[in-house]
């Protein structure tokens, strides 16, 4: 008897909440199992239809002596192959993807708040940050690719009615990233720094002498500039969004950064897949011909 009175005295609110939660719930069988079954059937049918309609590609037998032009990696790695055109191979092929994966895995350890959990973009400025991040990522990547492929020179020639060769010689260093190295008269002291001979004196430790000459302008183009841009531009975006009061919480910044990352990933993949022809030249998709051996 005592137990009953205690229960009724203490629990109406608790029991009401439990009942409300129960009312919000459905049984997995049939409600969820049905959805899963339909999804599986639709997917099986569409995959079968696709496989009947389109054949998997098969070219000639592998031949190490015949290199197709261009040789491309599978599409999901073409973003890295695209990066390869613009920076040092160690950066593009290994360091950038490794850092990107670690950063991706670290997201929940950085943004630990419960804001916006369990609902699509439910924090106040989520959609705005998504759109801005994606647009900035897309436009920024496209601009950088256009610049490094010297397409701004083509555009300038079109707009002014000049020939591409009329690009002012004084501005040659602005043709692309590599021009920063080639078109500027760097003093020879910094294009050939005897690093192994003067700085890293391993021979003093009894180790073999390292034969390494540093070329500072090359280092600038292949490593310093890409790293600065890849770290600096996202930081700049976050800073501007923060100053303008668009990104206020960690979740806002995460959404902007993640959307920017996805946009860059997608743009690089599409450019690498559809816009790169022979010699990995930047072309419109209709001008890209199948690889020639």
């Amino acid at each position: 008897m005592v137990a009953t009175t205690q229960e009724t005295a203490a629990s109406p609110a608790v029991r009401a909440r439990a009942r409300r939660q129960r009312d919000e719930e459905l049984l997995v069988w049939p409600d969820l199992v049905f959805v899963e079954f339909i999804a599986a059937v639709v997917f099986t049918l569409s995959m079968t239809a696709l496989s009947i309609l389109i054949n998997a590609p098969l070219l000639d037998r592998a031949n190490a002596g015949v290199t197709p032009n261009p040789s491309k990696a599978p599409w999901y790695f073409l973003n890295l192959q695209e990066l390869l055109l613009h920076m040092h191979p160690a950066l593009a092929g290994v360091i950038v993807p490794t850092v990107a994966l670690i950063a991706l895995g670290a997201i929940p350890y950085f943004d630990r708040s419960h804001d916006g959990q369990g609902e699509w973009l439910s924090t106040p400025r989520a959609k705005l940050n998504l759109i801005l991040g994606a647009v900035i990522g897309t436009v920024g990547t496209l601009l950088l690719i256009v610049w490094d492929s010297s397409k701004h020179v083509v555009l300038w020639a079109r707009l002014t009615g000049n020939d591409e060769t009329d690009w002012p010689t004084k501005l040659n260093w602005l043709r692309n990233a590599r021009a920063l190295q080639d078109e500027i008269n760097w003093p020879s002291e910094i294009t050939k720094i005897p690093f192994g001979e003067k700085v890293l004196r391993t021979d003093l430790l009894g180790l073999p002498r390292i034969d390494l000459n540093l070329n500072l302008p090359a280092l600038l183009v292949e490593q310093i500039l890409p790293v600065t841009l890849m770290i600096g531009l996202p930081l700049l975006m976050s800073l501007v969004l923060h100053k303008r009061g668009i990104a206020r919480t960690k979740r806002d910044h995460m959404i902007a950064q993640f959307s920017g990352f996805i946009a860059v990933y997608v743009v690089l993949t599409i450019i690498g897949t559809a816009f790169r022809g022979q010699g990995m030249e930047l072309l419109w998709p209709q001008d890209v011909v199948p690889p020639v051996s």
């Binding site: 129960r22 919000e24 719930e25 459905l26 049984l27 997995v28 069988w29 969820l32 199992v33 959805v35 899963e36 999804a39 599986a40 997917f43 995959m47 079968t48 696709l50 496989s51 009947i52 389109i54 054949n55 998997a56 590609p57 098969l58 070219l59 000639d60 037998r61 592998a62 031949n63 190490a64 040789s71 491309k72 990696a73 599978p74 599409w75 790695f77 192959q81 191979p89 160690a90 092929g93 290994v94 360091i95 991706l104 895995g105 997201i107 929940p108 943004d111 630990r112 419960h114 804001d115 916006g116 959990q117 369990g118 609902e119 973009l121 989520a126 998504l130 979740r251 996805i262 051996s293």
Partner: protein
Amino acid sequence: MASTERPEGRSLGDRVYDMLFHNYVWQSIFRSGYPNTPRNQMLVVATNVFLHLHPTRIHRTHVKITHTYCLGGLSFFLFLGLTITGVLLMFYYVPSVERAYEDILALETDVRFGILMRNMHRWMAHGMVIMVLLHMMRVFYTGAYKPPREFNWVVGVVLLVLTLLLSFTGYLLPWDQLAFWAITVGTNMVGSAPILGEPNRFALIGGFVVGPAALIRFYTLHVIGLPLLAAIFMAVHFWRIRRDGGLARPL
């Protein structure tokens, strides 16, 4: 006259139902009755090894297709489909430089439904990469990586890498120009890493160029090594979803 007074017998449907679902053999397989009452519907989920990946009840918003678009489930479904078509392809494929390409040609011309199996395996593989990426985006934008699910997001990133590696190792197997040069380009990227790049590349392709050693290594990784690893991480991934209380809910 007598017919109106005769007690109503059990209908044919009832008797067939009993014969099918209340017999000794059926009940030795499925302990719960046919899931047409709430009790049996919960029991069928809780006592079935496959269905018990699910809880017995689920919040009504999570059944809405627009909440998840089934992306994680479809990734898993594609993994299963790839396993089935992959096993069938293994019947006909020998991973040697002499035979690989001829086997693919034979598969396309001599084997009944061979080309369908190969096409399905190929398109499902591409589909799985896309699904896993989309699933990652869904989890991010619904904030489902937040406490207590932080580590499951990390497991998911590992599964993304495993998916890419599974696709990449399978890419070499047809041993055509597309496969050969894609893997050459891809493994050259690995080789460009400072210090560890070249040894890693050598270990991966078993030599300085993509050749017979690379083919057998990629094949072994593709059909047993990576799928086992992926299965283990998937088990952890699904288990943790259940332990953390199912899909994320607003607090």
